[in-house]
Symmetry: C2
Subunit: 221 residues, 2 copies
C-alpha cells in the first residue's frame, strides 16, 4: 500500500478528526489543519494521548502545504470561503471534498445548491489546476472516530479525473472502507443529497448512523 501525505482542512471537526484518526492509524502521514492553530495542536495532542497516533498540526494553509492529498471537511456555509483562503496553495494537489450541502435547520430535507452539487462549486472556484474529487460524505463521524468499529458505509468517489478517483478509492480501502467509482464530478449531487435522506432514515428508525452500501458488485473489484 502506498502511504500518502494527507492534510485535513477543518480537521478538528467531527468528520475531519475521524478521518484523521483512521488515516493515521493506517500509516498515512496526517496533518490536521484548522483556522485556529491551537485547536489543531490540541486535537493532535489528544490523539497522541488517547490512541498513540502521531499527527502533525497546523493552520489550514500549513496542512495543504504539507500534503499531496487534501481533504476538506467543513460545514457547507464555510466551504467556499475556506477554499478561497487556500486556493493558491492547493494548485497541483488532489482535493477530496467531503462537503454536504446541508442547510440548517431542515437538515433532513434535500436542499440542492444552485449548481446541484457543492463539489462542482469547489471545482469552479479552484480552476483546473486542482484535481477535485468528492468522497466520504455519508460516513458517520461517530464510527470513524471509534477505531475498533467496522465502517459499514460504502464510499462513492466522483470525479472527472479517473486516476485521481482511483487514488482516493485506494485511500478509502486503506482505512478498510469499501469504495467505488461513482462517475463524473457532477454525480456527486446524488451522494451529497443522500446525506439528508440518511438523516431522515436515522430519525424515522431511531438509529444514529445509517449508511449506504452498493449491491450487485463483487467485493473483489
Amino acid at each position: 500500500m502506498q502511504h500518502h501525505k494527507i492534510g485535513i482542512i477543518g480537521g478538528t471537526g467531527k468528520e475531519g478528526a475521524g478521518l484523521a484518526a483512521r488515516m493515521s492509524f493506517a500509516g498515512h502521514h496526517v496533518t490536521i489543519g484548522s483556522r485556529v492553530l491551537e485547536k489543531a495542536q490540541r486535537c493532535a495532542q489528544e490523539f497522541m494521548t488517547l490512541n498513540r497516533l502521531k499527527m502533525a498540526a497546523g493552520s489550514n494553509r500549513d496542512a495543504v502545504l504539507a500534503s499531496d492529498i487534501v481533504i476538506l471537511t467543513v460545514p457547507f456555509n464555510s466551504q467556499l470561503a475556506t477554499l478561497e483562503s487556500v486556493k493558491f496553495e492547493l494548485q497541483g494537489k488532489l482535493l477530496v471534498d467531503a462537503t454536504v450541502p446541508l442547510m440548517p435547520p431542515k437538515v433532513s430535507q434535500v436542499q440542492l445548491p444552485k449548481e446541484g452539487s457543492a463539489v462542482v462549486m469547489a471545482q469552479k472556484l479552484l480552476g483546473n489546476g486542482v484535481r477535485v474529487v468528492s468522497a466520504f460524505q455519508n460516513v458517520s463521524a461517530h464510527y470513524l472516530r471509534d477505531l475498533s468499529h467496522p465502517i459499514d458505509c460504502d464510499v462513492i468517489v466522483c470525479g472527472n479525473d479517473e486516476t485521481a478517483c482511483d487514488t482516493i478509492i485506494e485511500l478509502a480501502r486503506s482505512i478498510r472502507v469499501r469504495a467505488f467509482y461513482g462517475g463524473a464530478l457532477c454525480n456527486s449531487a446524488a451522494i451529497e443529497a443522500l446525506t439528508s435522506v440518511l438523516i431522515a432514515i436515522n430519525r424515522r428508525y431511531k438509529v444514529f448512523a445509517s449508511g449506504i452500501q452498493i449491491s450487485g458488485v463483487p467485493s473483489s473489484t
Copy 2:
C-alpha cells in the same frame, strides 16, 4: 397482508412489466396500462402464458380507474404529458412515481431537472388531490422480471404523506423488497439522481444491475 388494486401506467415497459409481475405474484390485483390498448393486452397475455399470472389490461386511463394505487413507469420525457392525460382520474388516489430524470445520451451523468426532482414536478402538476410518493427508481428491471431472483436493492420511499409512504413500504415488502421511508418528497431528488451513479458503477465494474442497500438499520424495523 392487505391486497391492493394496482394500476401500472406504462406497464408494458421493462420496469413496469417487472413490477406488474412481482405484484401479481404477491396476490395484488394488477391492471397493466398502456397508451396502446393492444400492447397492454399482449403483455397480460404473455404473463398468463409464461407465468400463469392473471392480470387485467387496458388503456392508461383504464388502469387508473381500476385501481387505488397507481404506479407510473414511463421515460422522463413523457412523464408530465402522461400524467396530464390522466390527471382527472388520478384525483383521490395514491400515485407512486418511479420516474428517473435520465436525459439521453449522457445517462451515466446526473442531470438534475430544474426543480431538482421529477416527482416534485409531478406533484405540482397533479395538485394536492393526489397523494404522491416516489419509489422503485433504482430496482433493476431485469431482476424484477425474473421472479425466482432475489432483489438485493432496497427501495426508498419519499413523500410528504407519511401514511401513504407506509402503504408503499408495505407494498414493496409484499414483493419481498426491503423498503425504507426516506423523508419528504423533495428527498426523492437524491434517489432519482442515484440512478445515474448506479449506471456509472455498472459501466465501470462491468456489472449490469448494481443497487443500493441501507446499512445501520435493523431489518426488523
